[in-house]
């Protein structure tokens, strides 16, 4: 079957060559990114030389975040594309500023080695009228990913062996996390969450407040507070901050926030509903078991579970980091 469709693909290709007398024109990536269209498939962008193996084009640069967002244990491959001659600069909150015509690409995969299966690739395009978030769903043959504006659900098994219904977000749900003051914005690539080496290589110099967040795998060598606050910033603060989806909660979990109340310490919930469980405060120092924040992270029940999107399983490592942080807070 697989061979058959590959042969068909070849046949179609040779037909194109025969009909026009020349090779298929190369993809004008900048045109695809900047147009008003919604490209129907990932291949139209030409980001990858070998999409299935996720081998990027030479102009597409991979990066990793020190502390990444948890997505049911998915392996995430991140890339950035910059138009010829353009540069990344530094903006507010240490968020990298990518020029118009840039793209951020993130592929979600499950399984190791030959068993690796690409599930979805999320693309953020910086167009003249702002950022656009588009979800692409991989086909069974792992040949291409097609635009899935309404998202999807896929049955799969996580690295921990849990069988889950994995949610590919719809286009609106992209904005629920990426929305700030009504506009779509990148949330991952911040100077504080990128390595010094990568920043120097790609910005030309090392910005202030770079590389502050612990590398997640090495969090044992960071303080419990740094590990937890990095985790909250990356996993929660895109919604729980002023101007974003959960602004009305009054909870602000950004790395730079230092007001204990805004961080939830002895703060009463506002609209938590049954999400509060039997607890009274978001964070009770020394008492992780009485803290709503951890209670919701430990739940898989929609209506209770946090984050609301992109999570079907509890992050054992992440919740342990939060538990440790709250347990170590001095009790008043």
């Amino acid at each position: 079957m697989k061979l058959g469709s590959a042969l068909l693909g070849l046949a179609a290709l040779s037909l194109t060559v025969a009909a026009t007398g020349q090779a298929v024109p190369p993809i004008d990536r900048d045109e695809v990114i900047n147009s008003q269209k919604l490209p129907r498939s990932l291949r139209e962008f030409g980001f990858f030389i070998d999409p299935a193996a996720q081998v990027p084009d030479q102009r597409v640069v991979p990066y990793r975040l020190n502390t990444p967002l948890y997505s049911d244990g998915a392996d995430k491959l991140r890339f950035v594309y910059l138009p010829e001659g353009e540069k990344i600069s530094l903006g507010q909150d240490g968020l990298l500023q990518f020029p118009v015509g840039s793209a951020l690409i993130k592929t979600f995969a499950f399984g190791e080695g030959d068993d690796r299966r690409l599930i979805e690739t999320r693309v953020l395009l910086h167009r003249a009228d702002g950022w656009l978030a588009l979800p692409y769903l991989w086909d069974d043959e792992q040949w291409d990913a097609r635009l899935a504006v309404a998202g999807a659900r896929i049955d799969l098994t996580t690295p921990k062996g849990e069988a889950i219904s994995y949610r590919v977000p719809n286009k609106n749900q992209c904005k629920e996390c990426h929305g700030l003051d009504g506009a779509v914005t990148p949330i991952g690539p911040k100077a504080r969450n990128l390595s010094s080496e990568w920043l120097e290589a790609n910005l030309g110099s090392l910005p202030a407040h770079a590389d502050l967040m612990p590398v997640w795998e090495d969090r044992a060598s960071a303080t419990p507070e740094a590990a937890a606050r990095a985790y909250l910033d990356v996993n929660c603060a895109h919604c729980h901050r002023p101007g974003a989806t959960a602004s009305n909660s009054g909870l602000d979990l950004r790395w730079e926030q230092d007001d204990p109340k805004a961080l939830g310490i002895m703060k009463r919930p506002v609209a938590a509903g049954r999400g509060a469980g039997t607890h009274l405060f978001d964070v009770v120092p020394g008492k992780p078991g009485e803290s709503i924040l951890l209670h919701r992270m430990l739940s898989n029940d929609p209506g209770v579970a946090m984050p609301e999107l992109g999570k079907a399983t509890v992050d054992e490592e992440g919740t342990e980091a939060i538990r440790k942080w709250i347990a170590g807070m001095p009790q008043s």
């Binding site: 504006v149 309404a150 998202g151 659900r153 219904s165 949610r167 719809n170 286009k171 609106n172 749900q173 904005k175 629920e176 929305g179 009504g182 002023p242 989806t245 602004s247 009305n248 009054g250 109340k261 703060k267 009463r268 919930p269 506002v270 609209a271 938590a272 509903g273 049954r274 999400g275 509060a276 469980g277 039997t278 607890h279 009274l280 405060f281 709503i292 029940d301 929609p302 209506g303 209770v304 609301e308 999107l309 079907a312």
Partner: protein, 395 residues
């Protein structure tokens, strides 16, 4: 002849592109078709849901301005979220000038319909129901506009919310009318909001009927300019089933209309019957707080002429027996904590806790009859309620 043709062409080019109608029918693939329509819809378009039951397993969302989502009636078109697997609400709206009408949402795992930062929104003849009735694991809010300017809720029916049936938070220019809130913890709640009009509603079998609250530590505070008039607030006697951490978990079973903190609130022309704790309760915020921007007192609260019938006979209050004995078997209809400022028209009796400080609990209470001054002049109702042009979208 040629001239006619030319003018026809001119006319055609001057006419705006016709709004499109996207029709969705129940059955296989309906959920994806609906969500796709909600994404690809253009401003001015309408999405029409044919009658029937739609099984929805994920949260729906709309982020396009000037869209109408219309069903075939609140009992005809039902979005059934009983098997919902993800998202914090059934339907989320984040765009302006949206009209939601004539459909129902049943059994969402979290909130029913939430609209956030969605200005000039209309909820018309919408029903949100948790079909098992009051239960602590029902979602918090049935209808939930927040951080919005211009909110019109008309002809809505909400049942079973474990927090508030109709909850308007951190918003401005609001009307909630002609709606029925039954068997929720709070029937209708206006929180941290300004310029709200709550009229011609029925609030019954809730723990508390109509609540007007202002809470600290929120981005938007300073609630006030609220009118609660001509509502039927009857038999709000369902035991509180809210999860304990929520502010409404403190609402006493049998509360009719309750004001906590806030300024400039008028309660008038309501019919209150069978609210066993307090037909009308006016109090300061009860918890300790450290928010310098926040005023915990209920200021300039005006209780005009209302019709009271049989309230305060079984108060869920400390020392209830003593209180009942002291007041001759039933508490008078208005309960005040003695803090802030309260004005009462006519001869409506009340009682006061005579507290002198907010947030210290009821230990210092010295209950006694209420002697509140009469209102000073007319209540200023200018600017209260949803913008009039939202009415054009009804009918």
């Amino acid at each position: 002849m040629i001239r006619t043709a030319i003018s026809a062409v001119l006319l055609a080019s001057a006419t705006p592109v016709l709004a499109e109608i996207h029709e969705i029918a129940p059955g296989e693939g309906a959920q994806e078709a609906l969500q796709e329509a909600l994404i690809l819809v253009e401003p001015g378009d309408e999405i029409v849901l044919a009658a029937g039951r739609y099984t929805i397993t994920d949260g729906l969302s709309l982020d396009v301005d000037d869209v109408t989502l219309r069903g075939a009636g609140m009992d005809g078109t039902v979005l059934d979220f009983t098997t919902q697997q993800g998202a914090g609400e059934g339907l989320l709206v984040t765009s302006d000038n949206v009209t939601l009408r004539d459909f129902a949402v049943e059994n969402p795992k979290g909130d029913g319909i939430k609209s956030k930062g969605a200005d000039n929104i209309v909820y018309h003849r919408i029903r949100v129901t948790w079909t098992r009735g009051p239960h602590p694991e029902n979602g918090a809010y049935a209808v939930y506009p927040v951080e919005s300017t211009g909110v019109l809720i008309d002809g809505v029916k909400v049942t079973g919310a474990s927090d508030a049936g109709i909850y308007v938070g951190q918003s401005n220019r609001i009307t909630v009318r002609n709606s029925i809130a039954e068997a929720n913890v709070a029937g209708i709640e206006i929180e941290n909001s300004r310029n709200a009009l709550v009229e011609h509603n029925i609030a019954t079998r809730n723990t508390g009927g109509i609540l007007v609250f202002d809470l600290p530590n929120l981005p938007v505070m300073g609630g006030g300019n609220v009118i609660v008039r001509n509502n039927l607030v009857v038999a709000n006697d369902t035991p509180n089933f809210a999860p304990p951490g929520n502010i409404v978990a403190g609402v006493r079973r049998g509360t009719g209309i309750m004001v906590m903190a806030n300024e400039d609130v008028l309660i008038e022309g309501n019919m209150l019957s069978g609210n066993p704790t307090a037909p009308v309760m006016v109090i300061a915020y009860v918890q300790p707080f450290e928010d310098e921007r926040y005023n915990p007192l209920a200021r300039n609260i005006v209780v005009g002429a209302n019709a009271f019938d049989g309230g305060g006979y079984d108060p869920q209050l400390d020392g209830a027996e003593m209180l009942l004995a002291a007041f001759g078997g039933a508490l008078p209809p208005i309960m005040w904590d003695g803090l802030g400022s309260l004005y009462v028209a006519g001869e409506t009796p009340g009682w006061t806790l005579n507290l002198t400080e907010a947030g210290v609990g009821l230990g210092a209470a010295r209950p006694g009859p209420l002697a509140a001054p009469a209102p000073e002049g007319e209540f200023d109702d200018s600017g209260i309620g949803a913008p009039a042009e939202l009415d054009d979208r009804l009918g």
